[in-house]
Symmetry: C2
Subunit: 337 residues, 2 copies
């Protein structure tokens, strides 16, 4: 078998267009991203004001003698250009947008769509992001090749990294009060990235009824796990009442909450189709968390963006067209709430 | 459908015993972990010296007025007890062990197996870790409930967090030189956690021939992606020759390298069964990376631990017994290298 003949993701959470894209391999191909991007840049004028900071190239440092040693990071300067390739309906894109709003750096990030590079299956896009997914952030610094970064959590951490003094300090997991709460915040992020994100498609994608029902049961079990994680956070911050608001990093909102929130916009919209809801009266911590986030402007903004897209899906009859409503009607045993 | 009736993981990377374990839900059940652990502790004397540090409870802080504010973390004290539930063959467990060796904290972590709690499917184990996986770290502090942490990356970050002044500084991604290299280190970690970890089972688990062949092709494509990430790291540190050693955080070893290494022990052992190898003469950066890691004592130690287990699988005829060798023989088109 040719090991570069196909690229089939082992995980579909962040996939919007996967198919069987061609996969760029080998060191020589690695170098092509810069020119591909340059071509794209020529044909698309930036939509937002771009910063004109000129920063010397970083990273070319003398190798130290041992690969395990006492070094530390260089001081951080923001890059000269940031472009986010995104789709309004993407919950993973929404997570990056949410952090951009909270950091108040909208004017520093050009918002683009994969269409500008020919779509996520195009050679130009795959040269930058072989997984063929959104979101993707393309970073530029003077004297360096453009660097594409895939995966929403990587992009969020990068933005926090290059804008260290911007936005609410509490957003950064490193600033969460205790190591146990930091571990719980990271655990919640991981529930989204490794489990929930993969299961979410069962609410709106084509699949057989049995696979769908099994995935939805798994999704609900992950919501139970989130309730457990919130209970553990509550204990650590001394919160006794389940109506009391606790976030995944304790008393304040951090990136773990941002990671999960956009998927909950999908859940509140779609679970009722299956006679379910995200809280079911038995996940009180999660419900209090959700209601508290809805009171924050940046979260409400992102929710409105996603709902506009989902309303469009609804108006076009997505759940009827994909036979999902038929599955629910024809398999009452499978979809019994 | 009862949303707590079954727990079917959407991801099998870190699963050793999943099945259909019972799933603990609701706030009241959340509180049971401490007593379960206490019962276990009574019947099993610690195997290693335990630290006797007495630390006041942390985390119970006064809520600030806004959930998005300028707070920062408390100073860190190590917990009073750490117990790692692990299996020698687990690549995810090996990743935690590797970091324990690099931090030189073996004497501070009790090494246990899930068997001591009745196995990963037992009620006692699932009360602590509803995903039913290894590794799991159980953290204790005076005056607090025992806190179980699942998922190798969460455990690794927690250990780095509570032992901030221990081990090589370069191990921490926060100390990698530039934000771009940090993003690449996090990207490589994520390739392991979201993609490779999920695909690895295709080399040694029961599945139909077509699923196996497709998964192995995807696995090889992920190795191509790792080569691309290393090429990008190399550019950022000014390395021109593919024989030059570059790690996923640049010139020095960080946790991203630790995340990937144990799976490569599986790959070097098993890919030859499919007439493949992890480098194929076309992933020179990855090959130089692998050879450099093998020169580090902690990595060689973990490799030996895993290989002992895999030699045992081989001696018991695992690949013949599961019909994998038959699949390769019967489907030459599918498994054509």
């Amino acid at each position: 078998m040719s090991d570069a003949s196909a690229f089939v993701a082992g995980y579909s959470g962040e996939v919007h267009n996967v198919g069987s894209p061609r996969f760029l391999t080998g060191a020589s191909k690695c170098e092509s991203s810069s020119s591909v991007l340059a071509a794209s840049r020529r044909s698309h004028a930036p939509r937002e004001r771009r910063p004109n900071v000129v920063i010397p190239p970083m990273g070319a440092r003398t190798a130290s003698t041992s690969p395990l040693s006492a070094t530390s990071a260089d001081a951080v300067e923001p890059p000269s250009s940031l472009a986010l390739y995104d789709l309004a309906v993407s919950n993973f894109g929404a997570r990056v947008r949410l952090v951009i709003y909270l950091l108040e750096i909208e004017h520093l990030v050009q918002m683009r769509t994969p269409t500008e590079l020919g779509g996520t299956k195009s050679e130009a896009y795959l040269a930058l992001n072989p997984q063929g997914k959104v979101p993707m952030l393309v970073v530029e610094r003077p004297g360096q090749d453009a660097l594409p970064l895939a995966e929403s959590e990587i992009i969020v951490q990068y933005l926090l990294d290059v804008f260290p003094d911007t936005g609410p300090k509490s957003l950064r997991i490193a600033n969460v009060h205790t190591p146990e709460l930091r571990a719980l915040a990271r655990s919640a992020t991981r529930v989204q990235d490794v489990y929930l994100g993969n299961l979410q498609g069962s609410l709106y994608k084509a699949m057989d009824a049995e696979t769908r029902a099994t995935s939805i049961r798994s999704l609900m079990a992950q919501l139970d796990l989130l309730e457990i994680l919130l209970c553990r956070c509550a204990k650590l911050v001394g919160s006794d009442s389940a109506q009391d608001v606790v976030f995944f990093g304790g008393r304040q909102i951090c990136t773990a909450d941002c990671a999960l929130f956009p998927s909950f916009v999908f859940f509140e919209f779609m679970l009722p189709l299956f006679s379910l809801d995200p809280f079911q009266g038995r996940r009180p911590r999660l419900e209090a968390w959700w209601r508290a986030l809805l009171r924050e402007g940046a979260f409400e903004k992102v929710r409105a963006q996603i709902r506009t897209e989902l309303d469009g899906w609804q108006a076009k009859g997505r759940w009827a067209n994909l036979g999902i409503l038929d599955q629910i009607r024809d398999h009452p045993q499978l979809f019994k709430a």
